[in-house]
């Protein structure tokens, strides 16, 4: 009896055929008055136009949050959201944080214990009693 592979439909792998950015929206909150928003205000003034132009697939919302620290909030297609407080940061640092949120998958951060991780099934295949050596009972 020839060995047959198990029939399986190819699962979608993001980035193999097409890549869909997981981040769908970024909210930028700032304060006009507070000093901790100085870097954020400078970022919104000078860097945001180019950032928005470079990422047209992300919706960007800018709204004030008076008397609060500045925050960037990312919304992801898995329904989760991530927020980063950017108080007292320079515009370049804020730009890095915005990129971090943009590139994030939206999943919770997990600790990697093993050096190699794979989503492929084992190369040995699934064990079957009808294959391999015939065992006499």
């Amino acid at each position: 009896m020839p060995v047959q592979g198990i029939k399986a439909v190819a699962t979608a792998r993001n980035g193999v055929g097409a890549f869909i950015l997981q981040c769908k929206r970024l909210d930028f909150h700032y304060c006009d008055w507070a000093g901790s928003s100085r870097g954020m205000n400078a970022f919104l003034k000078h860097t945001l136009p180019s950032f928005a132009k470079a990422n047209p697939q992300i919706e960007i919302r800018v709204s004030p949050r008076p008397h609060k620290h500045p925050v960037i909030k990312g919304h992801y297609i898995n329904g989760r959201e991530k927020a980063i407080c950017v108080r007292n940061l320079e515009p370049e640092q804020i730009s890095n944080k915005a990129n971090l949120l943009k590139e994030a998958s939206g999943e919770k951060l997990k600790r990697t214990k093993k050096p190699i991780a794979s989503i492929n099934e084992s190369v040995r295949g699934i064990w079957s009693p009808y294959h391999g050596d015939n065992k006499t009972v």
Binding site: Y30, D32, N41, L44, K45, L48, P49, A52, K53, N55, P56, Q57, I58, E59, I60, R61, V62, S63, P64, R65, P66
Partner: protein, 423 residues
């Protein structure tokens, strides 16, 4: 003032002057009864202690003498309760304001109608005492106050003649020296084109004055030119990056002759001559400059005179590069520009200005101040407006905004209204 008359009954004097006078003599009898209780007088046949009775007691038998005395102590001289309260609050026996804040009672009114009758009943012996008091007072009163005139100390300011100097500056009619004429125009220029026109005119005028070797600031004597003269000035061009005396480029020789003729008189002759003559001298050359009249807006004669005779903007931009390094020129230019535009310059700004362009920029920045709110700035940012994925909110986004965006606000409100939590 209450006093016991000869027949034993107690009477009250209406005249306060008399009351005061008598008060100095008969200190023992200064207790004044409440006016409201006057009609409750008990007849003189009763005991002297039972002078007043309350309305309850009047209906019954005459009160006990001891009780009556106690009653007297409270009701005799202090007046009504409100009056006593007022005295206590103000801390004086003569508090300001109305005696009875609730108005005059009916009893008081009735009492006021009667005083002449009561005056007649005044006993002889008290009249003598009054005379003695008047004599005593006349000795004390200074001579300039007429004798016999009733003096009543004022408790409020009402009715008093005004004290102080009545001939103040504000009370006197306006004189010639009080007339004020502003150095600048009455209304500040706000339009960009008008500011450019003012700067161009000032630059052309100063170039002319410089070339004619006239004192530069004397141009400020002419607040506004005739329309024909203004047309000539408007038609002149200025070479960029040239000196003030050589920068002016006239459209033709006639214009040059006319302008030189006009501006030669500004420093020397009177203003009226300047205002009249140019109109005649310029009439011919004005026709030549009518080529650009399409920019001129025709206005009715009824409306107030428009700025710069309806001209909207300047053709020439060369005046912007004129330098203002020389202090005299800078001062003269800023003075003339201030006069034409209505905008003044603070000292630090004057110090930092080095070209005509900077002057115009400064005034424009004053007219259109930069937005202080970041949202306003971002809303006006063209780059952000061009990107379709950016949305700028001017107000804080709340939970209700999110509900509205997701389309569940109406449902939530309907449920809340049904439960009676919101109206």
């Amino acid at each position: 003032m209450a006093r016991r008359s000869s027949d034993g009954s107690w009477k009250l004097f209406e005249n306060p002057t008399e009351n005061r006078k008598l008060g100095t003599i008969t200190t023992a009898a200064t207790m004044r009864p409440s006016i409201r209780l006057l009609n409750l007088e008990v007849s003189s046949l009763q005991s002297s202690r039972t002078l007043y009775v309350c309305s309850v007691c009047r209906q019954e038998t005459p009160p006990h003498p001891l009780l009556a005395r106690q009653f007297l102590r409270h009701a005799s001289n202090s007046g009504p309760l409100t009056e006593r309260m007022r005295r206590k609050i103000w801390g004086t026996d003569n508090p300001p304001g109305m005696k009875d804040p609730y108005g005059e009672s009916v009893l008081e009114k009735r009492f006021r109608k009667n005083p002449p009758k009561e005056q007649e009943e005044q006993p002889v012996e008290t009249a003598q005492a009054v005379e003695a008091a008047v004599e005593a007072e006349n000795e004390v009163v200074p001579e300039d106050i007429p004798v016999g005139e009733a003096y009543e100390p004022a408790t409020t300011w009402e009715g008093l003649s005004r004290v102080g100097h009545l001939g103040r500056w504000s009370d006197l009619p306006a004189s010639e020296t009080n007339r004020y004429e502003s150095f600048t125009i009455k209304k500040k220029l706000t339009k960009k084109g008008h500011l450019a026109l003012a700067a161009h005119q000032a630059a052309v005028e100063l170039c002319l004055m410089e070339s004619l070797n006239k004192p530069l600031t004397s141009i400020c004597e002419v607040v506004e030119h005739d329309k024909a003269v203004f047309k000539l000035l408007w038609g002149c061009k200025i070479q960029p990056n040239a000196k003030w005396g050589e920068a002016l480029v006239y459209p033709d020789q006639e214009t040059k002759d006319a302008l030189v003729y006009i501006f030669e008189q500004i420093g020397s002759a009177s203003e009226t001559a300047v205002a009249d003559e140019p109109a005649e001298a310029v009439e011919e050359s004005a026709e030549a400059s009518e080529l650009n009249e399409d920019a001129v807006v025709e206005l009715e004669s009824n409306s107030p005179a428009p700025h710069f005779f309806g001209y909207a903007d300047v053709r020439d931009k060369g005046y912007l590069s004129l330098p203002l390094n020389d202090l005299d020129t800078k001062f003269a230019f800023l003075k003339r520009f201030s006069q034409l535009s209505g905008h003044f310059f603070p000292d630090p700004t004057i110090h930092s200005i080095s070209t005509v362009a900077q002057t115009v920029e400064y005034v424009q920045s004053v007219v259109d101040p930069k937005p202080t709110k970041l949202a306003d700035y971002l809303s006006g940012n063209q780059k952000l407006q061009n990107t379709s994925n950016v949305k700028v909110f001017t107000k804080r986004q709340k939970r209700s905004d999110k509900d509205e965006e997701l389309g569940r606000k109406k449902v939530i409100e309907a449920e809340l209204r049904e439960r009676g939590f919101i109206e």
